[in-house]
């Protein structure tokens, strides 16, 4: 018997965090002791790290917005500017698209091309609606003289929400690429890895949006 597995077998259970060894999971999972991980796991973990670093980037924009929300230079504040009905529709679009992206994952796992394409198309249309509403909102703000140059508050607003919008736009480009690649290349391993990263990205964008509608729109509107 090799030394590492004996050490792991001693029942001290350093990383299981109180769960104990599950019946169907060998004790060496998560310890790197079962040999190198398959590529699928390395890719997924690496992209998860990227997502987390992206969330940290967004946290800087969130902090900027929260700190500068009162720095209006005599200009309009959230209460005069934000239309919460618009925000509610945007939220619904993004939440539903996150759900349909989950449906795509189910179809991809079963190598079902038709449902993969249908659910990807629905996800993309919901994402497009979201971006359309956001661009419409931005243009409306600029038309009433509340562009990003008006005050520090508006600069931080456009930076935060705009950065999220750019992410969604990139996600839509990626989604289009996936819609083309599934029929063209089939459900081969590299494409499945690519799709795994895409679904992580899309779900993460919705999680960021939860922060935006809560902090920027809802909390922003009640603070006087």
């Amino acid at each position: 018997m090799s030394a590492p597995s004996t050490a792991l077998r001693t029942g001290r259970d350093p990383y299981h965090m109180g769960h104990g060894p599950a019946a169907d999971v060998p004790e060496y999972t998560g310890h790197g002791a079962g040999g190198p991980s398959p590529k699928r796991i390395v890719v997924g973990y690496g992209f998860w790290i990227f997502i987390l670093s992206d969330v940290i980037l967004f946290s800087c924009f969130f902090a900027t917005y929260t700190v500068l929300i009162d720095a209006r230079a005599g200009g309009p504040g959230p209460q005069q500017l934000f239309d919460l009905h618009n925000t509610a529709i945007e939220t619904a679009c993004l939440l539903l698209s996150s759900f349909t992206c989950g449906m795509t994952s189910l179809a991809v796992a079963r190598h079902n091309l038709l449902w993969t394409e249908i659910t990807l198309a629905v996800t993309g249309l919901l994402g497009l609606t979201f971006i359309g509403l956001e661009v419409h909102e931005f243009l409306g703000l600029m038309a009433q003289g509340a562009g990003p140059t008006r005050s520090a508050f508006l600069t931080s607003f456009f930076a935060l929400v705009g950065c999220h919008g750019v992410h969604v736009t990139c996600g839509l480009l990626w989604l289009g690429t996936m819609m083309a690649q599934f029929p063209a290349k089939g459900f081969k391993e590299s494409i499945l890895h690519r799709y795994l990263c895409f679904s992580l990205f899309w779900h993460a964008l919705d999680i960021i949006w939860i922060g935006i509608f809560t902090v920027v729109y809802l909390i922003g509107t009640i603070t006087p």
């Binding site: 169907d24 997924g44 987390l52 539903l96």
Partner: protein, 142 residues
């Protein structure tokens, strides 16, 4: 020895048992999960997320929640919804095969809270200790 050998042979059969779990994929089991059970998970997640979103928007109505508590209620609803998304859409669990993902997330949460809460804390105290702009202009003028 022999049990070890058998375990390693399990890996070669293409089964994912014993591997770390990938975020965004369901737990690796001996049998692939049925479409119905996976669909149920996503639907529960969607229902909870819709409920929490609706609660956030309704909380703005001052008659429902005690006025000064609204901000706290919104933060709680938001964090709860993030949790719902992590569990039902990204399939993050605390099981042993998810340790790496959960630990990376925990580190991310640490950094995010340092940046966000730290900025608010520092800037709030700086604003308190600054001379107000109007007073500053008067001092210069006088």
């Amino acid at each position: 020895m022999s049990s070890d050998r058998e375990r390693f042979e399990d890996f070669d059969l293409g089964s994912h048992v014993g591997e770390d779990q990938v975020v965004g994929e369901g737990p690796a089991g001996e049998r692939p999960p049925t479409l119905r059970s996976e669909l149920r998970g996503y639907l529960i997640g969607l229902a909870l997320a819709v409920l929490l979103t609706a609660a956030s928007f309704w909380a703005l109505d001052e008659h429902l929640i005690y006025g000064p508590g609204i901000v706290m209620a919104l933060i709680v609803f938001g964090l709860a919804q993030v949790g719902v998304h992590l569990v039902f859409f990204l399939h993050l669990t605390t099981s042993p095969d998810n340790t790496n993902n959960a630990l990376a997330l925990a580190f991310g949460v640490l950094i995010v809270s340092l940046i966000f809460l730290g900025s608010i804390w520092v800037m709030y105290h700086m604003n308190q200790n600054m001379v107000p702009t109007r007073a500053l202009l008067q001092m210069r003028g006088g």
